[in-house]
Symmetry: C2
Subunit: 120 residues, 2 copies
């Protein structure tokens, strides 16, 4: 289970100052993930620049999720979502129990390629 | 190379009538993809409901892309993007040569899990 945070995201001020808001979100996620068996990684850009702070939840063989409209303290919500995801048996993150930020902030979900190949 | 179209997307009228706009987009993509070695699949929901007609471009071992703000005739653009993607050597869709709809419409991109694991 991996939380992938976009480290280049700016906050609502649009400031280029470092650490960027995205880096602070990644740090928040790392703190929340300690001892949880969840990996936190950063990436330069998730391409979701229209909806500010972004992160993805990725799990082998499951759907991939991208969330936006996060803030620098959303690390706890991301870890809660990742834990929920890890309990899923159908490769989807259950809606029930999902933090509000991961309901409102859903940007996209992509099925695993293996699932698509089985289709039709 | 797979084009994955959200078949449940509605057009700007919000109509529930079938075929849904997303189904028409999928049909447009299928027509454009004939003989191109590109697979077109549909999925019930890509979760990008805030930006209307959506589709993803997926390639084994490469980044996954989600686009929104498409229309029922965007099949040609999706196939052009898929062809461009198939020529890529770094797992990313080149910006240059990308149809405008796939520049403006970028919703998110997700790196392959293998790439993330190599990180750090």
């Amino acid at each position: 289970m991996t939380i992938l945070v976009c480290s280049s995201c700016r906050d609502e001020t649009g400031s280029d100052a470092h650490p960027r808001a995205g880096e602070r979100l990644a740090e928040s996620a790392r703190r929340a993930a300690v001892g949880q068996g969840i990996t936190v990684r950063t990436v330069e850009c998730l391409g979701n620049c229209k909806r500010r702070l972004s992160a993805a939840l990725l799990r082998d063989g499951a759907w991939s999720y991208v969330f936006g409209d996060l803030n620098v303290s959303s690390g706890d919500d991301l870890v809660t979502g990742a834990q929920l995801f890890s309990t899923s048996t159908d490769g989807l993150i259950p809606w029930r129990g999902r933090p509000d930020s991961l309901k409102r902030g859903l940007v996209a979900r992509i099925p695993p390629l293996a699932l698509i190949k089985e289709d039709k």
